[in-house]
Amino acid sequence: MSAVTDPAPTPAPPPTGTVGALGQSVRDSLVVARRNLIRMSRIPEMLLFAVIQPVMFVVLFTYVFGGSIQVGGSTSPDVYKNFLMAGIFAQTVTFATAGAGAGIADDMHKGLIDRFRSLPMARGAVLTGRTVADLVQTSITLAVLAVVALIVGWRPGYAEPTGIGKVLGGFGLLLLLGYAFTWIGALIGLSVRTPEAATSGGLVWLFPVTFISNAFVDSSRMTPWLRHIADWNPFSATVQACRTLFGDPGVSASTAWPMQHPVWASLIYSVLIVAVFRTLAVRKYRSATA
């Protein structure tokens, strides 16, 4: 190793005027997002499992529960299959939460968060970069899953006519929901001590959230108090919006506001989740100690 022959030490230059605070924030986030995408590409098995899990759910629900669950008065497996997909899609995007949490907890554990925090970079960039990279991964997972869904017999427009724009809009809402949930994951990742805890902590609460909803069963058949929760569950709003946009069967006739205006409800919920959890997560990041 040659002796260090650096030029006279100098501080890093302040950000140039043209860049500005917002520009710096975007740039730093992209640098971190790129880093996380490189990581993902080097651990292909992570993406593989992220895809296998929902595919397994599709197959299990379709063939195991398919014949015995009543949707809108029908027990036809075909109806259930078309009803189910929006639920599985939504569940899949929310499961990205656990990945974000585990990744950030791992970065804390390895001292990387300390390194980032000692750099003159935009405060939220480490978390934004991570959630953006997760959004890319979720998009890939969702695309693969949509193909599988089509193969097993999902037909957009099965119950009501739809169009390509509406279907894409549905997927847009799904990705937004997934993005919002990764901020919850980020907060969990920053709050727990180990990556292992972040993985399980990132998953446990998702089960009640995704099951006490209209995702897998017709919520109108639940006990009234449970139905109430299901109807106002942010997760249900996106599922209902997708069913409406995809022209799927089993759209809830509930009079609850989110069920009546699911697209708006889904948008509002997702934006609210981002606003609240991004603020909390960035605040937590500033004082994060491994």
């Binding site: 190793m1 100098t10 501080p11 890093a12 640098v31 390895k110 001292g111 390194r115 000692s118 970079m121």
Partner: protein, 348 residues
């Protein structure tokens, strides 16, 4: 005018543990301060406060003339940090790691690329540049971590136990790099548990214990403070220990300390080589066979032990040589570290 690193009455508590209990530091520009202390002494907490990672409960800190609490982002532009763990992304290659850090220091991507190439060369990582850091050895990771801290040639560097866990060859390599840096005018604060490291690298040493600076000065100052030289004898046979202790007692200026399992006797003396010769003649004359004998100047180990109060425990062993409790100062300090595991946890 305060130095490049300046701290005044820094206090940081974690629950009821006072990790920093009023620390004052002043490191003149272009010099190296060694922060020396056992696990849990508060070294890491001090570094974290000075590098904007942790908010002290009270006190004031300036780095490169800037208030750490009021202008954290400006401070971050002027510092490089190499923490206790090699903080590199193990799935990224060495080159990618350095480029990323460069970009996050707000370098343009072409400049960051060029700088990465330079650093990889300087740290002998060119051959491994395009391998994921996961495949690196411990020493290589440390080098990569240090290179990442040097991406912008920051005027002030912080290194938290930079050579902990490294083999002697890699430690030597890192020392060379650090010496090169300092000769270039960088101000450095270095924490270490290794007295030899502080002795080798630091202009000034601050000994930290229980969140306080308990002594400061150059290595020579601290050694002088511990007092003069001592005679050390290793007898060949254990049954000669008592007799040898009696003889040494006659020459000593203090209690004879006896390490029974190593058959080593130590006694503070004045009189230098002439006295040593007398001691040897005397022992030899009484038929006590010696494996080793010598005149020893105090090391920083002695300094540390005397400052942290362990010297008195050593004196106790003189009155009861059979006691046999950890005469090896290192073992004692390790045990001590364990007792304070809780504080260590808070420290990290």
């Amino acid at each position: 005018m305060p130095g490049a690193i300046y701290a005044e009455a820094l206090v940081k508590t974690f629950g009821d543990v006072r990790a920093l209990d009023g620390v004052d530091l002043d490191v003149p520009e272009g010099t190296v301060l060694g922060l020396l202390g056992p696990n849990g002494a508060g070294k890491t907490t001090a570094v974290r406060c000075l590098t904007t990672l942790l908010r002290p409960d009270s006190g004031r800190a300036l780095v490169a003339g800037l208030d750490v609490l009021r202008h954290p982002n400006e401070v971050r532009r002027s510092i490089g940090l190499s923490g206790q763990f090699a903080a590199v992304d193990e799935y990224l290659t060495g080159r990618e790691n350095l480029q990323m850090v460069g970009q996050l220091y707000q370098m343009r991507s072409r400049a960051a690329k060029a700088r990465a190439v330079e650093l990889l060369d300087q740290f002998s990582l060119t051959d491994a540049a395009d391998r994921p850091a996961k495949t690196y050895s411990g020493g290589m990771r440390r080098r990569l971590d240090l290179a990442a801290a040097l991406v912008v040639s920051p005027p002030v560097m912080f290194m938290d136990e930079p050579t902990t866990g490294l083999d002697p060859r890699n430690r030597q390599l890192l020392w060379e790099v650090i010496k090169g840096l300092v000769s270039g005018g960088t101000t450095l604060l270095l924490t270490t548990q290794y007295l030899e490291e502080a002795d080798q690298l630091a202009h000034d040493i601050a000994v930290v214990d229980h969140g306080r600076v308990i002594a400061r000065g150059t290595s020579d100052d601290l050694k002088a403070r511990t007092g003069g030289e001592r005679v050390e004898v290793v007898v060949h046979a254990r049954e000669h220990l008592t007799a040898a202790a009696e003889i040494l007692g006659g020459y000593g200026k203090g209690a004879v300390s006896v390490e029974r399992h190593t058959r080593r006797l130590t006694v503070p003396v004045t009189g230098g080589p002439k006295l040593l010769a007398e001691v040897i003649r005397d022992l030899d004359g009484r038929g006590i066979e010696m494996d080793d004998v010598g005149l020893r100047r105090p090391t920083l180990d002695d300094v540390f032990l005397s400052l942290t109060g362990h010297a008195t425990e050593d004196a106790d062993t003189a009155t009861d040589p059979a006691d046999g409790t950890g005469e090896d100062p290192k073992a004692r300090r390790r045990g001590r570290g364990k007792d304070r595991g809780r504080q260590k946890e808070a420290d990290q």
